[in-house]
Subunit: 338 residues, 2 copies
Amino acid sequence: MNKQKPPRKPTLYEVAARAGVSEITASRALRGSNVVTPETLRKVQEAAASLGYLRNRLAGALAGGPSNQVGVILPSLSNIVFPDVLKGVEDRLEHAGFHPVLGISNYDPQQEQQLISNLLSWRPAGLVIAPSGMTDASRAMLSGADLPVVEIMDIDTDPVDMAVGMSHRGAGLAMARHLLARGYRRFAYIGHDIARDHRAAARLEGFKSALTEAGSTLSACVTFAEPSSVALGRRGLRMLLEGDGASPDLVYFSNDDMAVGGVFHCMAAGISLPDQLAIAGFNGLEIGQSLPIPLTTTASHRALIGETAAACILKRLTGEDTARMTDVGFSLVAGGTS
Amino acid sequence: MNKQKPPRKPTLYEVAARAGVSEITASRALRGSNVVTPETLRKVQEAAASLGYLRNRLAGALAGGPSNQVGVILPSLSNIVFPDVLKGVEDRLEHAGFHPVLGISNYDPQQEQQLISNLLSWRPAGLVIAPSGMTDASRAMLSGADLPVVEIMDIDTDPVDMAVGMSHRGAGLAMARHLLARGYRRFAYIGHDIARDHRAAARLEGFKSALTEAGSTLSACVTFAEPSSVALGRRGLRMLLEGDGASPDLVYFSNDDMAVGGVFHCMAAGISLPDQLAIAGFNGLEIGQSLPIPLTTTASHRALIGETAAACILKRLTGEDTARMTDVGFSLVAGGTS
DNA sequence: CTGAAAGCGCTAACAT
DNA sequence: ATGTTAGCGCTTTCAG
């Protein structure tokens, strides 16, 4: 059928032929090997350009060349947290000429397992994963795959290979201690779908522990089976305050989105912050710090987690030693809402 | 640490041998071809499972099989807009078992060109790109690559292949007309780095056009060479109002982040909305709608753009016809801040 | 429905 | 510094 228009893309062979060298020499030239003569380099580059040659990395990688793809598995893209992490990963990867290949697990271990298998089948150079209850099969694939794997967000569990994150339990603990030290005594909690977001659950657990330690306890606890949002936080606080009897002096929200919603409710209802009610969140989002009264919160270093994870992969690929566990920490932000 | 067993991964050949069939039959079985007998299917699956076989899609794609990777090039991940778009792309792709391979151009045509070449070298099934001033070389690669390409966000320019988005100029125009109809007359604008964000520039241009049409004009215009943020919007409004003489009755912000900053400034400065000053934004972010007074804005359908773009790619791959241009539109949200 | 042959386009490993 | 030889692991023909 097709004869006049050769739709076949030019191959390395044709570039080599036109440059008057062998395939492997053309290959070396195009990949920037330092063994080729400047003269042949020029010839090859010219030939490639004039033919509109486009490297085929499938073939290259299959033949044993390196891959510049890194699998990235995240539970969601809806909350700002994971885009921030992804941004960090991308930033660091980009500088090295690598690309993230994305998979979203929707907090589902089965989907996660499927994704791992799918992404590994492309033989990526590494894998970054924010685990959502990995199955045994998932772990088996990862440990058998012989590539650098970084589990991110949490460092509260034992990783297959490497882990980068922070202690969410520790963050909850630190916040509670800070608030206790400032004299708060009647604590309430408003949270989103804790069943799926086990990191929020860990923060709450830490928070409660510190209260218990101090002989105190949560006087009220409202949680929803929905993802976090400003509107949900607002609704949660309204419910809490309208409910019978609860009169906390501080409300700990599952994250900043929720907490900002709480602040908005106070503004709308004429509740003065922090005199009548104090509020604390988690994440340290820009929005919270730009509020008329800056939010008390814990800054999580989301982009840094991503960057560090990517850096671990890249380091490992160059044969450098890497830490098994990296704690990027968190910072307490004492704002005006408490 | 390693076992004595050669860590070479099992290949299709070994699966086939163990199942007592030929390679190609095993291949067909594993790919879910409907021509294999249920019995052989079972045998092959068993063999694969017992060997811990992991498909090698590099080899498959090189041999002419389909790819399930789709290149996605975005200018940034810092603003919520592009994560939202990416989410849409991912959602739609995921259902079909495809994965986005990500590249961030940082609004730089040269980086963009490099990314195109890089991503195409993996022979993806398609490409989604939010263009940032594509070079001629970029266009040439895309049109020569013989794969579905969707340019997203804008539909104000002529695409190489397909385009999905909305008219930003039209959005600015519509907002100005709406505000004029509501009686506003003294307009100011506060914006972020318009040099890079040509979509924000298009909105402003449309806005101005409508004013001109109505015999009006912008009475003040503050722009910054920084990315948009809540803090920047807040700073911008403070500057504007403290400056000499400017007393607009409405401020149009380059987007909702900026506009929310403006609202916060008003709250902090005791400026009553919308009596003393009215505010309008762009995007329709959740945060703006959860404010004590919901923000007047234009809702952009970001995730829908992503979903539609992905759908176009997938459709084309199955041979279906696809529209060259898809306008997902926008919706004016008449909030309480105007 | 299953199989045999023939590469896909490139690069590692040795040559020279 | 450049070339030769062999595949990488799979899937497309085209046969049976």
